[in-house]
Symmetry: C2
Subunit: 143 residues, 2 copies
DNA sequence: ATCATTGCAAACACTTTGCATACGC
DNA sequence: GCGTATGCAAAGTGTTTGCAATGAT
């Protein structure tokens, strides 16, 4: 989906239709949220934000929808923070960094040669996660 | 600690003493378990196995002990399986692979150039986790 | 009318906390 | 005896499940 195109509900509907996912209102809103918030939100964040707009939204629906999106491969999830699962509209393998002080998660734009391998030590690789932890540049500044 | 040396309780006691961790019986047993089971056990596995030997052992003690070991940097933990935390006596950065069919976790003996960097995009890195997911060689064989 | 989606409430699994007891020096 | 380690039970947190209500075609 072209970044420059506006995320109209019609475009999103089309997008889900192509993936054979019934484009219900809630699903469209959750997809839109993920596309517009590349900050690796948790279920809780999505719930807090979207329930302002959709008063009757339940967490179950968010769980259901995210599982569906995951299964269909249109989103991915990270476990860089051991306490919660974060969701990411970007499914291409990339590197994440989490600050152990402030908890911020950054995308790292670093090519990793491991991403090119399909078989490693006999195992077939389908997913790559690289998690770095430490002190982020902002926290380093303020130290 | 030299692999060839036997893991006597005395050696373990000495080891914890050096790290300024009071070497209680439970702590020694849990440390010994981690050293002898490099299979990335969960709290539950440690509890199931060790409570056979130590009838009064509680999970709280295992949680306490593992947090302490983590804090002191003598073990590390992995979140490759989003549903549970696994513990690893190996604290050197290395690569893990999990099979999405059988759930087995393998250590991958692969050098990764990212491990050599201390600063990436301005952030100070103190921990590296590389998680690969896919189908393990055993499951590939049986497919 | 039928089938899928939604949402509440309960169940679940894992982890942490509070506090009383036991242990070691 | 004092400070730490331990362990039970309860509370907390994040996620899943069962099932009834709602919605779309």
């Amino acid at each position: 989906m072209n970044k420059r195109k506006e995320l109209t509900m019609d475009k999103l509907r089309e997008y889900l239709d192509k993936k054979n996912i019934h484009p219900s209102y809630h699903r469209l809103k959750i997809l839109k949220y993920l596309m517009e918030h590349k900050t690796h939100p948790t279920v809780d964040m999505i719930y807090k934000d979207l329930s302002k707009e959709i008063a009757t939204l339940s967490k179950t629906t968010i769980y259901n929808t995210l599982s569906l999106f995951l299964k269909e491969g249109i989103i991915s999830c990270l476990t860089i923070d051991e306490n919660k699962i974060m969701y990411d509209y970007n499914t291409k393998p990339h590197v994440h960094f989490i600050c152990i002080k402030c908890g911020c998660v950054y995308d790292i734009h670093l090519k990793c040669p491991i991403f090119d391998k399909e078989i490693i030590e006999g195992h077939k690789i389908t997913e790559y996660h690289i998690y770095l932890k430490g002190i982020c540049k902002e926290c380093l500044k303020n130290a």
